[in-house]
């Protein structure tokens, strides 16, 4: 098993006819993901290397029955694309688009909760989801990851590659890698994804990669303590970030003491989660925990 994306994924892509959208959609298909269609208003009837393009999500839903949407449209169109995919009944929407206004994210999050409870949003401003050997939805460079038993959930893209690569070099693989994105109002939180990993038979350990800003890591710490049987190793980026400065991710704003890397690491440790101080240390702790788990199991 794995979480969110696998062999049963039927992917339809908003923005499939754009340069970036086409490039990554085809990359995903090359990896083995079942790409069933794309949506670009005004370009219905065309195709992108054999992928049929539809004008609306309603048509796409009828014609190719996608269960997963990937959003690759520019920020100003992204909120409506997400809501249209949800209204068409798509269960999982993965929004890659970066730079969506916070108020749009708020509208999307609350509209999904009110009107489309059957749809899960991952992102926006995220690298997507990869289940090695099964499916890749997004921009995660799949070649660095092997199939295995580590679940990874992260607010940052490249940092995930860094940690995943170190785990792979130590000889371990991943069940799924889920990027939840660095924006202020993400569709899915750490807790949402941790719940999935807890219930996934393939996943034996979870690596959580957080960063400054917000309180998602603190909430994750409480959830792990109260509800998780599987070990979690955490990493927090941004110990040296100055207060009040924005470090690229809109979510990563530190104001005052709350939301600092130190406060987050302390919250996690207080709830029994081991926190690595560098990506290398995180990989080492994960490998240690896994080796311990497999030797005690044998």
């Amino acid at each position: 098993m794995s979480v969110l994306v696998d062999e049963t994924t039927r992917l339809c892509v908003a923005g499939v006819t754009g340069k970036e959208g086409a490039f990554h959609t085809l990359n995903n298909r090359r990896y083995g993901t079942n790409v069933v269609g794309g949506v670009t208003p005004g370009k219905g009837g065309q195709d992108v290397e054999g992928i049929p393009v539809f004008d609306t999500w309603e048509q796409a839903a009828k014609e190719c029955e996608p269960n997963t949407a990937m959003i690759f449209v520019p920020p100003r169109f992204a909120a409506d694309a997400i809501l249209e995919a949800a209204a068409a009944g798509v269960e999982l929407v993965v929004a890659i688009t970066e730079g969506i206004p916070a108020h749009d994210e708020l509208r999307v999050y609350n509209t999904l909760r009110r009107d489309h409870r059957g749809t899960r949003l991952v992102g926006p401003n995220c690298p997507g989801i990869l289940s090695p050997g099964k499916a890749n939805v997004g921009i995660i460079p799949a070649s660095f990851f092997e199939q295995g038993n580590v679940g990874v959930v992260s607010r940052s893209g490249t940092l995930t590659y860094q940690i995943g690569n170190e785990i792979a070099q130590a000889g371990f693989g991943c069940s799924s890698i889920v990027g939840i994105g660095g924006d202020p109002v993400p569709g899915s939180s750490f807790v949402d994804i941790l719940e999935l990993f807890e219930g996934d038979a393939q996943t034996e350990l979870v690596v959580l990669s957080g960063e400054i800003g917000g309180s998602a890591e603190e909430e994750a710490a409480e959830y792990i303590d109260a509800s998780m049987s599987k070990p979690v190793i955490a990493y927090i980026a941004g110990f040296t970030a100055p207060a009040g400065k924005q470090m690229g991710h809109a979510g990563a704003i530190v104001s005052g003491s709350a939301g600092t890397a130190k406060a987050k690491a302390q919250a996690l440790e207080a709830h029994g989660v081991r926190v690595g101080r560098t990506p290398t240390e995180v990989a080492r702790l994960a490998v240690e925990a896994l080796s311990g788990a497999s030797s005690s199991a044998s």
Partner: protein, 388 residues
């Protein structure tokens, strides 16, 4: 994007919140002329993006022209914890019967807007939260419905506003919510929200943060912000569309992806170094963008060594190498050493390009940790051994 007080007040007025008439000026002469026109007494207020202006001598009352001149002279150019005062806001002094507090912000945990109201205004609201939490009313609003007048009246009543101004406070809350929602603000705060002896409810200060991602919807707000007090390299980076934050140290940092760059700053600090900047070259950077980034990093004269930490996903390591080679051929790198760690997409090609180019002072590193240690040594003027 944080706004200066007077810019926030202009947005307040646009949405029907009562503020004092005033004038933003940048010279003593203009300050005096504005004060004369407004009529005494006036308040002369430093316009800087930092709290504690009053304590720092940045807010003063003037009863006549001589005082207005004196205060404008003393406040213009004042350094308030690193923020130089270049603009003054002159407004008619208000008579105050009570000082309240009101704000609307995005509550990231609840994923809803939060309205906060208190009758204990005019002081740090964190202090009220700590000492008299019962005097702080917090109310989440359904962002899809907005704040209704009925809810606003409930908030004002529950918060203990004087009975005769409950309607006025409610109007102010609704207007403040409108500023927050229609201007794409992440924070709209009034402290203090005053009640005058004539029972008028008025915003005496304004703290507004706008969402930079939504500025395309508000072309009229694009010129706002305290650009004069911005770090010059940060301003240049913003114009060029590069994510750059100036820091205090001497090691220039370039990476791809905000999380990886933040992590790189941490690892350099752990190795005993002090980063000079945060620079996220972003996903899919080509050679031209990398060269531009090197220019920005080297524009900071404190930089003694530079670290490139790249884990290529969309970004291709060969493009990064080409950009660095172009930077070395077109720019004067002043003998500053570079440590370059390339991993990920096309890393082998990237490393090969660098090896062939034999750039002076460029040291390849195998891992992020090794790279951090090398750059810290180089910044301290120590030689590093040829990597195996």
């Amino acid at each position: 994007m944080d706004l200066l007080e007077y810019q926030g007040k202009q947005l307040f007025a646009k949405h029907g919140l009562s503020v004092s008439a005033g004038s933003a000026v940048t010279s003593v002469e203009d300050a005096v002329a504005a004060a004369n026109e407004i009529g005494y007494p006036v308040v002369v207020k430093a316009q800087v993006l930092i709290g504690g202006r009053g304590k720092a001598g940045g807010v003063k009352l003037a009863d006549d022209e001589a005082q207005a001149r004196e205060h404008a002279q003393s406040i213009l150019g004042l350094d308030i914890r690193g923020h130089i005062v270049r603009t003054l806001w002159i407004e008619h002094a208000s008579d105050i019967a009570s000082e309240y507090y009101a704000s609307v912000l995005l509550d990231r945990q609840a994923k809803q807007p939060l309205v906060i109201f208190s009758v204990e205004g005019g002081v740090e609201i964190e202090e009220v939260a700590a000492s008299h939490p019962e005097k702080l009313i917090r109310r989440h609003v359904d962002s899809l419905a907005g704040l209704s007048r009925r809810e606003a009246i409930e908030i004002a009543t529950e918060g203990g506003a004087d009975e005769d101004v409950i309607e006025g406070v409610a109007d102010a809350l609704v207007a403040l919510y409108e500023v927050w929602s229609e201007e794409d603000a992440t924070l709209a705060e009034i402290n203090p929200l005053i009640v005058t002896p004539a029972r008028e409810v008025k915003a005496l200060d304004a703290k507004v943060s706008l969402d930079g991602n939504a500025l395309y919807r508000h072309p009229e707000n694009q010129g706002l912000s305290d650009s004069a007090n911005e770090d010059p390299i940060e301003r240049r980076a913003k114009e060029e569309g590069v994510q750059y934050v100036a820091l205090e140290g001497d090691i220039g940092i370039l990476g791809n992806g905000a999380g990886l760059v933040m992590s790189t700053l941490d690892v350099v600090a752990q190795a005993g170094g002090r980063p000079a900047n945060f620079l996220d070259a972003g996903g899919g950077s080509d050679a031209a963008k990398i060269k531009q980034a090197v220019e920005l990093i080297l524009a900071n004269e404190s930089v003694k060594a530079v670290l490139f930490n790249i884990f290529g996903g969309i970004t291709r390591c060969d493009e990064v190498a080409k950009g660095l080679i172009a930077a070395f051929s077109d720019l004067d790198t002043q003998g500053i050493p570079f440590v370059v760690r390339l991993d990920g997409t096309n890393d082998v090609q990237g490393r090969e390009l660098l090896a062939q180019a034999k750039l002076p002072g460029v040291h390849p590193a195998k891992t992020m940790n090794e790279a951090a240690e090398m750059v810290v040594a180089l910044a301290a003027g120590k030689p590093v051994g040829a990597p195996a």
